[in-house]
């Protein structure tokens, strides 16, 4: 490391304790219970009698430093300079003085950051990079999230759902985030096999690695225009994109055929029912930027039907379990297609292996 004698490495993250509100430091591990006095507001009560108030606001996650500084200013003004972000990318201000709650809420709302996301509400949509930063994306992330949240914003600022409703979006099958276990998942998908760049493939990738990358064995070696390359057996390709991750000469992106799919009924928590995967609701919706109205409509429709029909404390998947999938398709008006029927590894277990039927 030569001349840079003062270069620091492997120092890890700063210790969190430095950033904790004094009330939190004092009552660490001593919290007794909490209340949820209003949407976006939590009050945690300690065994010592101390209270800490949380005000949560929605964030686009993609933040300019200007906005980060705004959050810092608000924290200085209302929460002693203490704030945090949540596992779903909301921002939370930690207050010891309840009198600051109302002005902080107003300041946030005025600045365009809705307060909410707590309790039986829709919280922020966990999402990924999309066209803002990722080569692999079949769709944008931020644009759809913005469009969907615009339509569902009341469900963020109010707590009028039967249970928590978690939406997530991933822009390709890599599924960065916990998309596969969401009440509603919006997933970018490709639908055509990679278009092999025969001119460069041999230069930028190892052919055996490319061949080995394919889970279905759809790739085989080939000589094209005298150059060693590979070919893809189109009908064996399930558009997983693994070959593209491994080799840049195998792009899958295709403006005509890329788009979205919608999945429902997954969950993460162990509350009541076990964690479970989201299941296919809508196999394909075309990309329609800038506001993806078909995706927005599809999500809003599912949320509405769920909100009207589920019982208290029933998550999306628990509701569908109770009423059965045929009823879900009937109520939502979503078409049931051949694509809904699993044909992957454990497919047989998803067939209806009983005579339990509703008519």
């Amino acid at each position: 490391m030569g001349t840079q004698t003062d270069r620091l490495t492997d120092i890890g993250p700063p210790h969190y304790e430095k950033f904790l509100h004094p009330v939190i430091k004092k009552n660490y591990g001593k919290w007794k219970y909490h209340e949820n006095p209003a949407p976006g507001v939590l009050c945690h009560v300690s065994e010592t009698g101390d209270r800490i108030y949380t005000v949560r606001a929605g964030s686009p996650r993609l933040l300019s430093i200007q906005t980060v500084r705004l959050f810092a200013d608000l924290a200085d003004k209302y929460s002693g300079g203490y704030l945090r972000f949540t596992s779903r990318n909301n921002v939370e201000f930690l207050l010891d003085n309840p009198d600051n709650i109302a002005p902080l809420k107003k300041a946030l709302t005025d600045a365009g950051f809705p307060v909410g996301g707590t309790g039986n509400a829709i919280s922020n949509i966990v999402h990924t990079q999309g066209w803002v930063h990722c080569h692999s994306s079949a769709t944008d992330a931020s644009g759809i999230v913005k469009s969907v949240m615009d339509a569902l914003c009341d469900h963020f600022t109010e707590q009028k759902l039967p249970a928590k409703l978690r939406i997530a979006l991933a822009c390709c099958l890599n599924m960065c985030g916990a998309v596969h276990c969401s009440d509603i998942a919006i997933l970018g998908i490709h639908r055509r096999a990679p278009k092999v760049r025969h001119d460069t493939l041999n230069k930028v990738c190892e052919i055996p690695t490319v061949i080995a990358s394919c889970p279905t064995g759809a790739i085989r070696s080939a000589t094209v225009d005298g150059k060693p390359s590979v070919e893809v057996i189109e009908e064996q390709c399930m558009y997983c994109g693994n070959c593209y991750t491994v080799c840049p000469a195998m792009p899958l992106n295709d403006p005509e055929n890329d788009g979205l799919s919608i999945w429902v009924g997954g969950k993460v928590s162990n509350a009541r029912s076990a964690p479970s995967f989201s299941k296919l609701a809508i196999p394909f919706i075309p990309n329609n930027p800038p506001r993806w109205p078909e995706v927005v409509d599809a999500v809003v429709n599912i949320v509405d039907i769920y909100a009207r029909n589920a019982r208290k404390f029933e998550r999306m998947g628990e509701w569908i379990d109770r009423i059965g999938w045929p009823k879900f398709f009937e109520l939502t008006g979503i078409e049931f297609t051949r694509y809904h029927i699993d044909d992957f590894k454990n497919a047989g277990l998803t067939y209806a292996r009983s005579a339990h039927l509703r008519f």
């Binding site: 045929p326 292996r353 339990h356």
Partner: protein, 413 residues
């Protein structure tokens, strides 16, 4: 046991105890039949050595048939010459396994004339099993059987003898005539039953209601399970009688209903029939008060089998509801499409359930011309690996389209 040819100290232990003894049965037969006598000897040897003394298969049969007889040879014929051949005949049973004393005696007479005097009432598939005879007795036995009106069942890559629960003959819950359907299917497919033309075996079983008393969902390639479409028939007076007699309707009925669609307020039982999944529990518990609805028919399910090779399968829903009077016609149509496709695409020794596992249910539905309905699945796929079809994807060249339509039937792992 001085008059026994071979001492059987181990088997003798199995004459003790309250349950009827198969050893007593073999000994009874052994009094008249050297075959049964030698079976006893060889079986005692197996008990000593903890191993079967039968050799692997051997193709024997009756003229013009490709199945119905299981060839069996001893691997110690020098010791037990009378079981050097010990083939069994599988004989179609009458639907519901009903007999008269008269016909049973005639069957016994035939077997006394040609075989070991030993039988199974019945084999696991449902056939009458005539257990053990020599090759040259097969044809004469067959001739006597057909004269009595009986025919052989299946073995090998054929349709097997269908079976049916007692159904409308003695059960109040039968939603269609299981015995008639079983009989019709057996007669309809005589050729498929007797002449191997399939990739592997194919079994039908007919249960009159979801209690499934012939275990069709566990062991029939085509399971036909009776059900109803309208509301459970309810007799409120009889409900009250059960309650008065001490049945805890809340705990034993409502709380055990899988969809919790029943409500008992202490006086009146209300069923939300749109939520009911026809599990039968409440009907089973209160047969006098509740009965299946009036709009009766059956659910057709496909694909059950034992574990060889890819693990056991339960049948899964293929057609949620067929009205009782359309069952035979629907089945005829459907089965011919299934057999055509399976015959062409099924690998050797691949049951239809395994074929579906291999190519995917959707491709199978395409092939037999059935539309997918959500009743076929317990849940939609949770993996994103969708093979989109050529016609659903834009911008394919003409060539591409062709490839993709062909590709309906393709293999995943």
């Amino acid at each position: 046991m001085a008059d026994q040819k071979y001492p059987t100290p181990l088997l003798d232990e199995l004459e003790k105890g309250p349950w009827p003894s198969f050893v007593k049965e073999i000994k009874a037969a052994a009094k008249a039949k050297p075959t049964a006598e030698d079976l006893l000897g060889q079986l005692e040897l197996s008990y000593e050595e903890k191993i079967s003394h039968w050799k692997h298969g051997g193709i024997v049969g009756v003229m013009g048939y490709g199945g119905g007889v299981i060839g069996r040879y001893s691997d110690v014929p020098e010791k037990f010459p009378n079981v050097s051949h010990f083939h069994t005949l599988r004989v179609n049973h009458p639907s519901g396994w009903f007999y008269t004393s008269d016909v049973l005696r005639k069957l016994c007479d035939i077997w006394e004339a040609h075989g070991s005097d030993l039988t199974n009432f019945h084999g696991s598939t449902g056939d009458i099993i005539l257990l053990g005879t020599k090759t040259d007795e097969l044809e004469p036995t067959f001739n006597d059987l057909t004269k009595l009106g009986f025919d052989l069942g299946g073995s090998g890559s054929v349709m097997r003898t269908p079976s049916a629960c007692v159904g409308q003959a003695r059960c109040e819950w039968a939603c269609y005539d299981t015995m008639a359907l079983c009989n019709d299917l057996t007669h309809l497919y005589q050729d498929e039953l007797h002449r191997p033309a399939f990739p592997y075996k194919f079994k039908f079983k007919c249960s009159g209601c979801p209690n499934d008393c012939v275990a069709s969902i566990a062991r029939a390639d085509l399971s036909i399970i009776g059900t109803w479409k309208d509301d459970i028939q309810q007799d409120d007076a009889a409900v009250s009688e059960y309650a008065a007699a001490g049945l805890d309707i809340q705990k034993d009925v409502c709380d055990r209903c899988p969809t919790k669609c029943m409500d008992w307020d202490g006086k009146k039982l209300s069923i939300n029939n749109r939520e009911c999944v026809r599990c039968m529990h409440c009907i089973n518990v209160m047969p006098k008060a509740l009965r299946p609805g009036k709009e009766k028919g059956a659910t057709l399910l496909i694909g059950a089998k034992a574990p060889i090779l890819q693990g056991a399968l339960l049948s899964s829903v293929l057609i949620p509801f067929v009205p009782a009077d359309e069952l035979l016609e629907t089945l005829k149509e459907l089965v011919s499409r299934i057999w055509d496709f399976w015959g062409e695409y099924g690998n050797n020794r691949e049951r239809v359930g395994e074929l579906i596992q291999r190519i995917g249910m959707s491709a199978f539905l395409d092939a037999i011309g059935l539309d997918p309905v959500p009743e076929m699945i317990s849940a939609p796929r949770d993996n994103p690996y969708i093979f989109f079809q050529g016609e659903d994807v834009a911008e394919g060249t003409a060539e591409d389209e062709e490839v993709q339509n062909e590709a309906t039937v393709k293999e995943t792992k």
